[in-house]
């Protein structure tokens, strides 16, 4: 299918990188984090970019997944795989129970409710110290193993997380280009019109909210095993904001945009380290300027730039043949 063309490119690029740069810190260490962030950003983008429902609490579901795996494996001696599943079930139940009341809200109220939810989850993680280890966190989490193949090196983690990311991207692309995905985008475009086309908007919103939470939970579990340590700091309100920023920076309603945003925001601090104490300030300034001057995000911005360059070139080459597009745009 045509929409998967970009996906094959992404797959090739992601898998070739460690071959070209073996043992490179930026690939296998920062790259793993970028891929993990990409999973989160892609899932949040389904909810925010496509369905138009802002969430400032996504890190909360990420945290539930991470802590479910961490607690079950270290305190109760579970095998990591069923622990992941348990995390998913728990996240699913919480997300499903909260989806309806939360998604009835709109705009700023929705933002505040999801933000509050994320903060509450974080506080619970800090306060239930006998289970979670409190603010000090929880260490000694075992690593994953797959039919005897232990995921115990940076490179192996890179492979695992990148594969999961590719799977998530594939699922997301399939959804977006299907009946359900169109329903999501439709309710973003116009909720009334979506209802009139027979879309049950409440059920659709609930579905995508739960799905996004489940993917975040899976990412959380992976994160716990990869780090072998979790602490509440990784799941704070700030991280939720960072995730939203990734989605918006790359370009809402574009899966590749979300990936791009995740990669940029993961590498940006690495680069800004050079500026030392200016780091936070520059980060804030970039965020503001991007939103003021390029609200549709980098991905769309670059795309339209390329299109404009392409059009100029075709004009140079001779008379334009793509007349419906031209007439359409000209009139608009």
């Amino acid at each position: 299918m045509s929409y998967l063309r970009g996906f094959y490119l992404l797959t090739a690029a992601a898998l070739l990188l460690p071959l070209v740069f073996p043992d490179n810190y930026y690939v296998t260490v920062v790259g793993v984090t970028a891929a993990l962030h990409a999973i989160l950003a892609v899932s949040l983008n389904l909810l925010m970019g496509y369905a138009g429902q802002i969430s400032l609490g996504h890190a909360g579901f990420f945290g539930i997944g991470a802590y479910a795996s961490a607690i079950l494996t270290t305190r109760y001696g579970w095998n990591p795989w069923p622990a992941i599943l348990a995390g998913l079930v728990l996240t699913g139940i919480i997300a499903f129970a909260l989806a309806r009341p939360i998604l009835r809200l709109k705009g700023h109220y929705l933002a505040m409710a999801t933000l509050g939810l994320g903060i509450i989850i974080n506080i619970v993680l800090v306060q239930t110290g006998e289970l979670t280890g409190g603010p000090d966190g929880l260490g000694g989490i075992p690593t994953l193993s797959l039919f005897g193949w232990n995921v115990n090196s940076d490179l192996r983690w890179y492979i695992v997380i990148v594969c999961v990311m590719l799977l998530v991207v594939w699922l997301a692309l399939n959804i977006i280009n299907s009946r359900s995905g169109r329903a999501l985008r439709a309710l973003h475009g116009s909720e009334v019109a979506a209802e009139m086309m027979g879309i049950n908007t409440t059920a659709t919103k609930t579905g995508v909210f739960v799905l996004a939470a489940l993917i975040a939970s899976l990412a959380g579990s992976l994160f716990a095993y990869q780090q072998s340590f979790v602490s509440p700091d990784s799941f704070s309100f700030f991280f939720s904001i960072e995730l939203v920023t990734m989605v918006v920076l790359g370009g809402m309603a574009s899966t590749y945009g979300a990936i791009m945003g995740a990669v940029i925001l993961t590498f940006l601090p690495e680069l800004l380290v050079v500026f030392e104490e200016y780091e936070v300030m520059i980060f804030g300034a970039i965020l503001m300027l991007m939103m003021i001057f390029l609200p549709q995000g980098l991905f769309v911005g670059i795309q339209s730039l390329l299109r404009r360059v392409g059009r100029n070139r075709s004009e140079l080459a001779g008379p334009d043949t793509g007349e419906p597009e031209e007439s359409g745009r000209g009139a608009a």
Partner: protein, 292 residues
């Protein structure tokens, strides 16, 4: 037991008075421009931190330092409106939220650059001799906070109810087109609203800094609490926001004392969620029916 509760109530009112000022700032900006300003907490930080910088660093008397800090905060507020909010007019809710979040990170970054990560204290305005009320005690600074907040809230009330420019801002918030048509300079009113909001936030920061200390990131939690308080009381209603602030302060203080201090923040947010689920217009707001 009674004395203990009295103590919690006194503390709660002090904290609540701070929340109320931040919430009032939120409500003013929200009503004037439909923007939820996530950098509201940063005004609080700017007020406290620059007062300390001007007085301890530059050797100015405390009151003069405070005046300078408030003026600085007002400038920042107006610049935020002019250069970040106004150009993005008509953008989606998500976009404006991220712009103000970006502004808050930026301001925090500047503060970090100027003053580092240290925690600063500020001298109490009139000594630290506790006042006994039964078994409960109160610092003079608590009275400063309560009294200061009361004066400011009354001032804002006066501004919106008895001055032409105050009413002009209200006019902009209830009907922007009509405001244009009677000759109100709407963009000027927006600047005034942001300036006023910054003034309230920075004064809250200055009043409370001697009790709570301050640092470059002190504004984050206060900003979120102020926002919660504004929603609790009803965003559309400035005095509701004040009541929401006091209520949130009281609830937190009682919850911290009687249940567990660790969960005090959580309880505040749980109440916020319940209010949003059951009565999104806020406890004191008017219930509005949404039309398609």
């Amino acid at each position: 037991m009674f004395d203990q509760i009295l103590q919690f109530v006194l503390t709660g009112i002090t904290v609540g008075a701070t929340y109320a000022l931040v919430a009032l700032g939120f409500a003013i900006i929200f009503n004037a421009s439909d923007v939820v300003n996530f950098s509201q907490g940063e005004f609080v930080m700017i007020g406290a931190m620059s007062t300390i910088a001007f007085s301890a660093g530059e050797g100015l008397p405390l009151w003069l330092a405070a005046v300078g800090a408030v003026l600085l905060a007002i400038c920042v507020g107006m610049m935020l409106q002019r250069f970040a909010i106004a150009p993005a007019r008509g953008a989606s809710v998500v976009t404006t939220i991220i712009i103000t979040i970006g502004a808050s990170i930026f301001l925090r970054g500047v503060a970090l650059l100027l003053w580092g990560k240290d925690i600063f204290g500020m001298p109490h305005f009139s000594g630290e001799q506790p006042i006994q009320i039964g078994e409960a005690t109160l610092l003079p600074q608590n009275l400063w906070v309560m009294g200061g907040a009361a004066v400011l809230v009354l001032g804002v009330h006066y501004f919106f109810n008895y001055t032409t420019n105050g009413k002009a801002i209200l006019a902009c918030s209830c009907n922007r087109t009509a405001a244009h048509l009677v000759g109100i300079n709407v963009s000027m009113m927006m600047l005034i609203a942001y300036g006023l909001s910054a003034l309230l936030g920075s004064l809250a920061g200055i009043l409370v800094a001697p009790i709570t200390f301050t640092s470059y990131d002190a504004g984050v939690m206060l900003g979120l609490k102020g926002f919660s308080a504004a929603i609790l009381g009803g965003m559309g209603n400035p005095m509701g926001a004040v009541a929401g602030g006091l209520l949130l302060g009281l609830i937190e203080s009682l919850a911290a004392g009687l249940i567990s201090s660790g969960y005090k923040d959580a309880i505040g947010f749980i109440i916020l969620l319940l209010v949003l689920f059951l009565r999104p217009s806020g406890i004191f707001g008017k219930a509005s029916t949404e039309r398609v």
